[in-house]
Symmetry: C2
Subunit: 228 residues, 2 copies
Amino acid sequence: MPTRKSTRRSKTYHHGNLEHALVDAVSEMISERGNWDCSMRDIARRVGVSHNAAYSHFPDKTALLAAVAERAFEALRSATAEAAAAYPDDPEEQFLAIGMAYVKFGCDRPAHFRLMFGPLFADGDWASMKAAGQAAFDELRTVLKRCAAAGLLPESRIEELAISAWAFVHGLTTLAVDGRAEPFVRDAKTIMQAVRIGSYSMLGGFNDPRVSAPRTKFSVGQAVEHER
Amino acid sequence: MPTRKSTRRSKTYHHGNLEHALVDAVSEMISERGNWDCSMRDIARRVGVSHNAAYSHFPDKTALLAAVAERAFEALRSATAEAAAAYPDDPEEQFLAIGMAYVKFGCDRPAHFRLMFGPLFADGDWASMKAAGQAAFDELRTVLKRCAAAGLLPESRIEELAISAWAFVHGLTTLAVDGRAEPFVRDAKTIMQAVRIGSYSMLGGFNDPRVSAPRTKFSVGQAVEHER
DNA sequence: ACCTGAACACCGTTCAAGT
DNA sequence: ACCTGAACACCGTTCAAGT
């Protein structure tokens, strides 16, 4: 037995596991705490490694958190895709289901949701993480294309309507997660009802003639003109 | 001349100005930097006071930032109220104007907007700051009441529709400020167009019969039921 | 009552050194 | 190539002391 056991155990993370283990640890920690305010030293302690070992795999703390956010975006994408897949022949139900899945994701994982859309990645490009976010958004876009094909809304405005619908569920989740939507949105039932009402409201209004030709009325835009 | 001048100048902040000066300094700093990642020591340096003087007026850093957020909420409230006041006889235009003012506020002061709705105040109560937030929301509620009086939407659903509309403009602002709404929302013109389209879509759909009786269709809610 | 200087525990990051 | 120990500059907060 020439192999030294001490060397053996200490090499557990020498085969590429540490990167994965770090992302796992952070993901668990922010779930437990409810916020992403954990230190590199805490993370390292949890994984059982020295406090600066992470710098062999990530250039800085933000990069590690970006990896966590990227994986969370993938989970969001599959959650919404799965919800839509439950109604293969009914695009309107798909539209409702995808919105509800989005809100549910945020309410179930508030700390992840805040991290994903938080101010941390406002600077820098973080291309692959933002691509994962766009992939999640594409699920909604696809459903709206099916809605358009079914005559529920005009083809020419799919992009704008996708943004509107996304903004609605995103804003609702944000407000709910931060406790700003009270007193009306108090629990799971009321927030899902809000999704339903907002979604029906939008679906009912997509064929409003002003949606397809919004430029005809520009007075307000001048009144509160935006300079940037 | 018995008064000692050195004492005189050093007492400038002894008459209650420091609290105000601190809030001013932080507000300016986050505007300049684009984020609220400034240290107590930086703030104190800017005001010209020792690095821990702020603790005579605020129990901790979060409390100081909450005071900044509270003042920003008051600014948001007057911005939206002013926008609505421009159309005293047209509730539909008021609805559009208030949404645009909200989005404009966030795009003009992204760091303030992120602070106001950020994760910092998720724990604790921060009653007076959150009350200022509710006051801003009340402006929208008031406009929707006028819309209901004009027959644009059912009286019984004002509360839910207010939440929906707020979620929409809030989500749009958040996505725009964090650069997530691209490629469609790129600049001031396209984002205001998105507000317009979303608002018309909601207005057009508020009278959809399903908005007033959303409970008749509950299949989706069961499929993605929310446990919390 | 309001502010200061020194101190404490903690943080993200760097770097030379070990295997 | 991957990890460690020591070190650096910085941070929020506390506290005894000054006026």
